[in-house]
């Protein structure tokens, strides 16, 4: 079963496209990272998955069924932490839990209370007076309280200091380790996601640029450095995702179509997730490439 499945999903506002031609099948039981610059369409995609937004074209399925927009019953299976972690500032922490208990039939109050007390978050404190990290953890506890099968988080660790960020991710991974939970989280910083994601979706300008298992993607890509005038050779047998040139040297991010070649004048090394994402987001190689580099047609616009 896919956690989220989309078929040519589209969302537009007037003449502006927030998301277009998005076809994905995100496997269940993984920690999925949705990466892309601001305005890439990440929030749009996530909002469509949790029922806050309806597509203007195409379809989306969640946990093997209709999306929550069309079937509100699905809301029980999906937990969501929205961007900026909205909470009722005047509510005490205990009130927020009661809010969750009243509105979610599958609520596990004991576990929620235990989770918060382990973190040292007092139940009598007002939500608006908690620190940024504590608010994030309260929002997470609220989303997990209904024991969802899919947990969606929109930029959960943005604006958190490094310690709070670490604690949040520790908690999140602890939940993922228990099994039976699919996690999808978005970020515009790859560094946040590198340690925790085993499946990656790269979104830019409203379109999917790259998608797949993180380990597989890393295994398929290499960074080649070598003489500029030979850059075209590589392009014939493999896909050059991104090229940059300094003087007579070329550095190419390459997607291998066959086992990595052993070329004498080139040094090869593996890429990090960050380099991979940057390479795909940077667009086609600059126009001053040698003529034989015209085969970089797979690079997205």
């Amino acid at each position: 079963m896919s956690a989220i499945e989309t078929d040519r999903l589209e969302r537009r506002y007037g003449r502006r496209w927030a998301l277009r031609d998005c076809s994905l099948a995100v496997p269940a039981g993984r920690v999925v990272g949705l990466v892309g610059p601001n305005g890439a369409g990440k929030t749009t995609l996530l909002h469509m998955a949790v029922g806050l937004l309806a597509p203007t074209a195409g379809s989306i399925r969640v946990l093997g069924g209709l999306p929550p927009r069309e079937r509100p019953g699905q809301l029980r299976r999906v937990g969501f932490v929205a961007q900026d972690k909205p909470l009722y500032r005047g509510f005490r922490v205990a009130d927020m839990l009661r809010f969750g208990a009243k509105l979610n039939p599958g609520w596990d109050q004991d576990q929620a209370v235990q989770r918060l007390s382990r973190l040292g978050i007092p139940l009598s404190q007002r939500a608006g007076q908690l620190s940024g990290g504590q608010q994030a953890q309260l929002a997470l506890a609220l989303a997990l309280g209904k024991r969802p099968e899919l947990l969606v988080l929109d930029e959960p660790v943005a604006n958190l200091d490094p310690l709070a960020r670490r604690e949040f991710l520790q908690l999140l991974m602890g939940e993922a380790a228990q099994g039976g939970l699919s996690v999808v989280l978005s970020s515009h910083l790859v560094a946040d996601l590198e340690r925790i994601c085993d499946y990656l979706i790269l979104l830019a300008a409203g379109q999917v640029q790259l998608v797949g298992d993180a380990d597989d993607l890393l295994a398929e890509h290499r960074m080649f450095a070598g003489p500029r005038d030979q850059a075209g050779l590589l392009g014939r047998t493999h896909t050059v995702v991104h090229a940059s040139y300094t003087g007579r040297q070329a550095t190419l991010l390459v997607r291998l179509r066959s086992p990595a070649p052993d070329l004498a004048s080139w040094t090869v090394r593996p890429v990090s997730l960050e380099e991979l994402v940057l390479g795909y987001m940077s667009g086609p190689p600059p126009a001053q490439a040698a003529p034989s580099l015209s085969c970089v047609s797979e690079v997205p616009a």
């Binding site: 806050l52 809301l75 969501f80 009722y88 509510f91």
Partner: protein
């Protein structure tokens, strides 16, 4: 589930009720004062004896005329239900983004909206009913008094604060506020729109009120006292007409028949009958009070239903961002 609505809006609800409670106490106290003055001044005894009560009337008018005339401002009370309860109801959640939290819990948006509307709608109706009863009691002793405008139940402005009409006005205002909030997604614009919509709507329906049923007519001597005086009618229109039924201005009659300080009554009466000048009142009798209340309340409840329908449609079918 009601707990959620209560916990979220308890300050709004309780402060509104508290303000209204204070107002109610003020009304009760002033009502008591005025009623006792009615007796001590001798006006009530005079009215009971159906004697000419102008001098007694003046006494009461001097003392409490301003208070009675200002009851018209209580017409703003129902609007408060829209501005302070309706407008922020949904708009605040959309403004602060907490709708993204509320709409991803396990209940449908329709249910969520119903939970919010319920307590406030009920409170608005109950408050309106309470004030209607209170003001009915407050105005009742003055039903036969007139300081330029009358205070009988049928009279303009007295009609508006009694019976079931205030319930209709309050629910309409509440619905208007809620819907404005849903459409604008911002609290302050929603409040402003509610204010801007409520007044014209009320005035417009009020202008239609004289047409709810065909007015009856009664005729009598020009400038005289209507034979139906004191029966609690709402005189919609009063004019002098000539023998042929053509409308004649007061000034024309005065100059034609020489009505003035030094004129002789007999001469004036002869002149009037010679020209056939007589007064025609078009009126709605007091017996139509309940029917008119029903029509007016029905109009506003209908408007409220339409507005709430729009609000429900917008919230459930339209998207969040």
């Amino acid at each position: 589930m009601i707990w959620v609505a209560w916990r979220q809006h308890r300050i709004q609800l309780s402060s509104g009720i508290a303000v209204l409670a204070v107002l109610a106490i003020v009304l009760a106290w002033t009502g008591h004062q005025m009623t006792s003055y009615l007796h001590t001044s001798g006006l009530s005894a005079c009215l009971a004896a159906h004697a000419g009560c102008d001098s007694f009337s003046h006494l009461v008018e001097n003392r409490y005329g301003w208070l009675l005339r200002n009851v018209v401002y209580l017409n703003f009370l129902p609007m408060l239900a829209g501005v302070f309860w309706g407008a922020p109801l949904v708009a605040r959640e959309m403004e602060t983004g907490t709708c993204r939290l509320a709409w991803t819990q396990s209940i449908s948006r329709r249910r969520w909206l119903a939970i919010k509307l319920g307590p406030f709608g009920a409170a608005a109706a109950v408050m309106a009913a309470g004030f209607s009863v209170l003001l009915g009691w407050w105005l009742h002793p003055f039903a036969q008094v007139s300081f330029g405008n009358g205070f009988a139940r049928m009279d303009l402005n007295a009609f508006d604060v009694q019976g079931i009409a205030p319930i209709g006005y309050s629910l309409f205002a509440f619905a208007a506020g809620t819907t404005a909030g849903v459409l604008t997604r911002r609290v302050l614009p929603a409040m402003a729109i509610t204010f801007a919509v409520f007044l014209p709507a009320r005035l417009w329906v009020q202008s239609l009120r004289s047409h709810f049923a065909t007015p009856l007519t009664v005729s009598y001597r020009a400038f005289g006292t209507s034979p139906r005086a004191g029966l609690g009618d709402w005189v919609v229109h009063s004019q002098i007409v000539d023998r042929l039924g053509r409308s004649v201005s007061d000034l024309t009659v005065i100059t034609t028949c020489g009505i003035g300080p030094g004129s002789q009554k007999a001469n004036v009466f002869t002149c009037l009958s010679a020209h056939g000048f007589h007064q025609i009142d078009r009126y709605q009798p007091a017996s139509r009070f309940l029917a008119f209340q029903g029509i007016e309340t029905g109009i506003f409840l209908g408007l409220a239903a339409v507005l709430l329908g729009i609000a429900v449609y917008w919230v459930t079918r339209r998207s969040a961002s």
